[in-house]
Symmetry: C2
């Protein structure tokens, strides 16, 4: 296998570095607040084969890189991921070569999908130090491939699907498209791939699945990302098809947000949502060593999340 040995991967400083704990001020009902310092398992024993995947909606990659304080470079040095999945790169096709030059050595395989219908909109990427067996852009299943929302990479023992699910928009004007066309297409794509290998689905799924996944469930029943339609579609098209929400499995009853809107200073007051996920095929759910959130990493309205998968 091309996957790296444990000692190379698990040298991540993320459990020794001083991640500041996000104060989850108002855990609701009897929910606990996720604490990345205390709620992560001990490192795997040396020699265990595994892969470390990270996912981050960067809300404009060029904006993020200007910041410098959290380039992919520094994230790599801290987290030492094997594969990084990005959403909302907002790159145009013409920007990609320039951006590739900023990648650090070792991450030699990167695959960029850009919107060709709206410039500077949406966009996804997979950046990897492992060379995939194959890569596919979009689903090929219908005409929904113009917004750069899906990249799929095939590895030895699994498919990795990185996606940025369409936002239902102000006034929910894109809700029916989202549910009836997009979610269904994605679900079919996954099922198709799963016929040959287990699937890891990650990205900004633009849905807070349960009440625990949003700071104010009552007030957001008609907000894009928490409508009953989106939540049911998430259940029916993903979970009911045998996909496991790895964070929720590992941390039932724990509040762990991955998104805080800029509009109401949400990050300071922890008015967050869990919109970013790792879902995995049931057949590999037991291989998940850790599914975690890094809420203290700034530079976007979303924070990165990670998955350590034993192979």
């Amino acid at each position: 296998s091309e996957l790296l040995k444990t000692e190379e991967i698990i040298s991540s400083p993320s459990q020794s570095e001083p991640w500041t704990v996000l104060a989850h001020k108002k855990p609701q009902k009897d929910w606990k607040a996720y604490n990345p310092k205390t709620m992560r398992p001990p490192p795997l024993p040396e020699g265990t084969k595994c892969v470390k995947v990270m996912t981050w909606n960067v809300n404009g990659l060029r904006g993020l890189l200007k910041f410098e304080s959290f380039s992919a470079l520094q994230l790599a040095q801290r987290e030492n991921f094997d594969i990084l999945c990005l959403q909302e790169t907002k790159l145009q096709v013409k920007d990609v070569e320039e951006i590739k030059k900023t990648l650090i050595d070792g991450y030699d395989h990167s695959f960029w999908s850009c919107s060709v219908s709206k410039l500077g909109y949406s966009g996804t990427a997979i950046i990897s130090r492992i060379k995939p067996l194959s890569v596919r852009y979009g689903t090929g299943l219908s005409g929904h491939d113009t917004e750069g929302r899906i990249v799929t990479a095939e590895f030895d023992s699994f498919y990795l699907i990185n996606t940025y699910v369409p936002n239902s928009g102000d006034g929910l004007k894109r809700l029916s498209y989202r549910i009836e066309e997009w979610d269904r297409t994605l679900s079919n794509h996954i099922k198709e791939l799963e016929k040959s290998k287990p699937v890891v689905l990650t990205g900004d799924l633009n849905c807070a699945h349960e009440e625990i996944d949003i700071f104010n469930p009552a007030g957001n029943k008609r907000s894009a990302g928490f409508t009953i339609e989106e939540r049911q579609s998430f259940g029916a098209n993903l979970l009911d098809k045998g996909f496991v929400d790895t964070f929720r499995k590992q941390h039932p009853g724990v509040v762990g947000y991955t998104y805080w809107g800029y509009r109401h200073g949400g990050r300071k007051t922890n008015k967050g949502w869990r919109l970013d996920y790792f879902l995995v095929s049931q057949s590999i759910a037991a291989n998940v060593h850790d599914s975690y959130i890094l809420p203290d990493i700034n530079g976007s309205d979303h924070c990165p999340i990670g998955l350590i998968l034993k192979l």
Copy 2:
């Protein structure tokens, strides 16, 4: 008269404060470089009645105020002007009340003209501690009053016209409008006012009149602001009608730019243009005590200029 006494006006720190001298690196032919430290006359004797007017194309007033380093407030404290004329405020009508609140005490009379055809475009204002006898927006002469390009204030002994002349645009696509419609309309407006009182015309006239007024005359013969059409129109519609270019009269053979394009780092290399003027009726040309440039004031692609007029 409502105009202030000399001791109140000429307490300006501008001749004692350390204005850094702009290095005019390549004076052309036998032109001298304007030096605001050395080329200004001594203060007027105490008790002389005068008015101090400043003009500044601010290239977006809200952007400038964010800066804070050169708000109108600080400019007022350093220059102690009586009247400030702004161009390219880029304000909308709805922004004006908000902006008025930022004015410092004493400047209680302000008159704002905003573009109503293109939002956030153009826009002029007169801010004064002297209450004008009357104020007029636009010329009233034709249909050229939708872009907020002219404010005229009447004082005891003169009219003050503040204008932002339309740029002829990339590809000179607005050149014929500029010459045939706009310059002519402005000229008629001035002549009309001059029938009753002398006129002070100031603002961004968007024309470098002579070769001395631009860093690279040869290379800009078809650039907006230095076409022969604009230069001749400037001569025919303004100077030939009896208006005196006060800076040029005071400093013949002196290079004094007021604008440096952002596009080619023009301010560092002093690739500038003189686009901002005080023109006065011949009948009061001898009353001009000082017509000067403040090239070291940043915050815009134009710098402010000043006029001290004896009354």
